[in-house]
């Protein structure tokens, strides 16, 4: 099985847990690696924005002496976006439904990001 297929399987597994509407694996420099996103979303722009969000948060936290953030969570009335590191090379980003249980989602994301890290390093 190709690396890309294995990464796509991780995203499919995430979606099957429910409440996760879309997800993507993105390189730390903001380029798309794999995505499970509806065709009407610009996945490449989503990837760049997610990496930028996490990168900017890292800079802000580091400048304030608070260390590297574990994740960035953006909430709106229509849903949530969670971006988290998945090893040295990648990020995992998910988009959830508005009523998603954040604790449960973070647990799933944690497991998935470790699988991504095992594959990409």
């Amino acid at each position: 099985m190709s690396l890309r297929s294995q990464l796509e399987d991780i995203l499919k597994d995430l979606k099957s847990t429910g409440d996760i509407e879309a997800s993507a694996i993105v390189s730390r420099d903001g380029l798309l690696i794999a995505a499970d996103i509806s065709a009407n979303v610009n996945a490449e722009a989503f990837a760049a924005m997610s990496a930028t969000m996490l990168g900017a948060a890292e800079t802000a936290m580091t400048e304030l002496g608070k260390g590297i953030p574990d994740r960035v969570v953006v909430e709106s009335s229509n849903g949530k976006i969670v971006a988290t590191g998945a090893g040295e090379k990648a990020l995992l980003v998910v988009m959830t439904s508005p009523k998603a249980n954040l604790g449960l989602i973070l647990l799933q994301i944690g497991k998935a990001s470790r699988r991504v890290e095992e594959l990409l390093g």
Binding site: S27, D29, G30, E44, A45, A48, A51, G55
Partner: protein, 191 residues
């Protein structure tokens, strides 16, 4: 000018010859294609801009520049293809490749983005740049890069090819002078 761009192979033309065709000088303003104002930027400013962006958003700076450049390259490629098709009918693959080479030659020789060479076969479009503006900027700044750093040229070329060919490509800069290579080499393949 458009007719020359899409009908003649420009790759062997000199800077002076290309300037005469594509760059007009009017009342102190340079204009590309007779209408778009052109300005120069020094290489170290461009490289310095990337370094400053990295200070704000970290490694994600690359994704921002590559994606934004890709989108604009795609707009240019699509506009050329549509204008050609309106006038002459469908653009065949050989012409698409020639127009892509021509556009990049104009970038290289008229806009100063480096001396560009092309290696094109059925599956790959390879662009080699001997002295890319972006890599030169990093070298002059004495900033050694861990990874290839010609983000704008990567994105623009990638988008231009997608727009001209009307299909998805995968692309990367596989060698860069800024990270110790002897040349900047970009490889694009259809997805």
């Amino acid at each position: 000018m458009f007719e020359i761009l899409v009908n003649e192979d420009l790759t062997d033309m000199s800077e002076g010859e290309l300037d005469k065709i594509f760059v007009a000088h009017e009342e102190g303003i340079k204009r590309f294609l007779g209408r778009i104002p052109l300005g120069c930027i020094y290489a170290t400013f461009l490289a310095g801009l990337y370094v400053e962006m990295e200070k704000i958003v970290g490694r994600a700076a690359k994704g921002l520049i590559v994606n934004a450049s890709k989108n604009r390259g795609k707009v240019a490629g699509m506009a050329i293809r549509k204008r050609y098709e309106k006038k002459y009918g469908k653009m065949d693959e050989d012409r698409v490749k020639m127009v892509a080479r021509n556009m990049l030659t104009v970038w290289g020789k008229c806009f100063g983005w480096g001396k560009m060479n092309f290696k094109i076969n059925d599956s790959e479009f390879i662009l080699e740049v001997e002295d890319s503006l972006e890599s030169t900027g990093f070298i002059k700044l004495k900033v050694k890069r861990e990874q290839p750093a010609c983000w704008m040229l990567l994105g623009y070329t990638w988008g231009l090819l997608e727009g001209l060919f009307n299909s998805k490509f995968v692309g990367d800069e596989v060698e860069c002078r800024a990270s110790g290579g002897s040349i900047c080499r970009f490889v694009f393949r259809t997805e």
